[in-house]
């Protein structure tokens, strides 16, 4: 049904945006996501989309214009990375607080200082509490598929929240991969028409967006946002089911790899999961019962389902491509919370890897599995949180 093509992550996202054909797109260039908007600008210039492109003067204005456009009553998209997302931070909360289904691609990149343009997850993890739905992607195919599904999820009647689709800077954004692209009309039918809710442009029914809400009502607003987040898991699965019908590809809240009977489990996001899977195969051949869990939906985090999937593991190694200085890696904290509330008591270790685009090599995955084996045998964790592939 689809067409198999060779394409980079960035161009795959740009193609998805062409097929989605949003009403408004406001963006500001930043490495490594720049190519998305460059490519999309050529689609605008050549009349392949009828999007109003707003080439703003900063990411703060990009998100501000996205919010204005979304509140006006139409489909809105953007893309950014790293410092760009950091500059948007104030507005990320406002997009979600106003319940606006803006959809953004985040091409993950390290945050300064020191300045670095390569991929890690410190940008996306820093936006963890901004009220956005987050879908993470291992490769170009997943990023493309996630972006199309994100439109349906964000705009769902039970949700109406902004969503970001994350993929690794350079490793995915700039690498050419084989990917299947859906036909334009199939994507168009799948996402459907945008249904405006209380649009600003309805001048017959004037609405006030962004009022001052004092302690007498503020918590009710936040409670409703929480309620919307509670619906996300079901909608993600429902949309995935429908997406499978048009694509043949199946998605869940997370992906598991040889996890069913695993004693040792790796939890890792995005592109490093692919490397881990290869190494897991090698260890499986040697009789080591090791598997992997790769979260897809990070916000809201599916604690119960993740804990259930990991409940058979004796040792879990959580790999974080982001730091929380003075704390554990952000993914480790989620997995710990999931296991504790589930009542499981696995031994756990946290590895910080790949910061600022440092390569994650098969031997790094092997080091992790060897250490897990040792922990399983001795029942003891030597170092709870440690760095992987670093000069000490």
């Amino acid at each position: 049904m689809g067409k198999r093509i060779a394409i980079t992550g960035n161009f795959a996202i740009a193609e998805a945006m062409r097929q989605i054909n949003p009403d408004v797109c406001a963006a500001y260039p930043i490495t490594p996501s720049t190519q998305i908007m460059e490519k999309f600008s050529t689609f605008v210039a050549d009349g392949k989309v009828d999007t109003e492109l707003v080439t703003v003067e900063s990411e703060h204005s990009a998100m501000s214009a996205c919010i204005g456009a979304s509140a006006a009553g139409g489909r809105v998209m953007t893309a950014t990375s790293s410092q760009g997302l950091a500059l948007m931070w104030e507005m990320l909360h406002i997009a979600s607080g106003m319940r606006l289904p803006v959809v953004m691609t985040l091409v993950n990149r390290a945050l300064s200082a020191p300045i670095n343009i390569h991929g890690d997850h410190s940008d996306g993890m820093g936006a963890r509490d901004c009220g956005w739905i987050q879908l993470w992607s291992e490769n170009a195919q997943e990023a493309y598929d996630n972006l199309i599904q994100a439109i349906r999820i964000a705009e769902h009647d039970d949700i109406r929240l902004p969503a970001m689709v994350c993929m690794d800077g350079f490793i995915i954004s700039h690498s050419i991969e084989s990917m299947e692209m859906l036909p334009d009309d199939v994507v168009r039918d799948f996402i459907g028409e945008f249904k405006p809710k209380h649009p600003l442009l309805d001048i017959e029914n004037p609405v006030t967006y962004g009022p001052l809400v004092l302690p007498d009502y503020f918590m009710e607003f936040k409670r409703q946002q929480h309620e919307a987040m509670l619906h996300v898991k079901d909608v993600v699965l429902e949309v995935a089911k429908e997406f499978q019908k048009i694509s043949g590809r199946s998605y869940g809240l997370f992906e598991t790899y040889r996890l069913e009977d695993a004693e040792l489990a790796i939890v890792v996001l995005n592109s490093a999961a692919g490397t881990c899977k290869d190494v897991i195969d090698e260890y499986r051949d040697k009789g080591v019962r090791v598997g992997l869990l790769k979260p897809r939906l990070f916000r809201p985090f599916p604690y119960e389902e993740v804990a259930e999937a990991l409940s058979g593991a004796k040792v879990i190694a959580v790999l974080d491509r982001a730091e929380s200085f003075g704390g554990f890696g952000p993914m480790f904290m989620e997995i710990s919370a999931a296991m504790l509330t589930n009542g499981s008591k696995p031994l756990m270790i946290n590895k910080i890897y790949g910061l600022g685009g440092r390569d994650f090599m098969p031997e790094h995955a092997a080091v992790v599995i060897d250490e897990m084996k040792e922990v399983a045998e001795t029942g003891k964790v030597k170092i709870l949180k440690d760095y992987l592939g670093v000069r000490e």
Binding site: E52, G68, A69, A71, G74, P211, L212
Partner: protein
Amino acid sequence: MSTTPLRLKELSKKEDLLTGGHRLCSGCGAPIAVRQILLAAEVPLVAANATGCLEVSTSVYPYSAWKIPWIHTAFENAAATISGVEAMYKALKKKGKIKEKIKFIAFGGDGGTYDIGFQSLSGAMERGHDIVYICYDNGAYMNTGIQRSSATPLGANTTTSPAGSVVPGKLQPRKNLTKIMAAHGIPYVAQTTPAHWRDLMTKVRKALEVDGPAFINILASCNRGWRTPTDTAIQDSRLAVDTCFWPLYEYENGKLTINYKPKEKKPVVEFLKTQGRFKHLFSPENEHLLQKAQELVDKEWEALLREEAMWKAEEEKNSE
């Protein structure tokens, strides 16, 4: 559609689109300006509002004083926010999903416009959105309690430029934002006050008529920050114009017109002496600041006169 004449009798029959019951201070200049703007408009408006007095006082949930669609997102981005609204309007109009003509307006105080929102304002103007940006300039961050802004006049006593025993209030002259906006080369830029309601409303109509960005800077007195009585907003604005502290002028496609020239230009102290924020300037040791304030006014006014004369000479040359 017939245009309502700018006569009080006719205007009084129009619906007020900013209702009473909002929580701005009595005697505040901002809502007077906003009501005049909304009365002047003859097309439906959608507004964006920067964080500030006007925003917090007109939208205390679950109430809203706005009878037009209105959005507030943050402090520094009213221009970017309205850009997005206008872009969506264009997109939906192109697709036939919207038929009616709508115009877009943004409101910001001097903090949200001269300072923290300056970048997003400049960007929106450069991009050529069909929007009108209104700055209500009360010369300080009044919403957070009278802190100095780049619009605060020389010598003013504010909570972050307090008149002390060593430092006599704000040491810097104010930024001339109207001229900076004119330098953007946008179709319409003007300066006015709510005391000159016919001038203000004419300017709003001109701004709404142009296809592209327009900027109007409106002096809006604040009795809390200016340390004036609550019933002198209009007189204070008039004094600002009669002393040429705040000249009424406009740029139409780059061409300057001074809309009002006082027969007798009053000394700037006439404007300063009614306001408590300048009280300390009248101590003998601060006399040099009063002189400096007069020099600043004279310099700006003379430059405006010269520039207007240049345009007039050019016009005459072209008509020969």
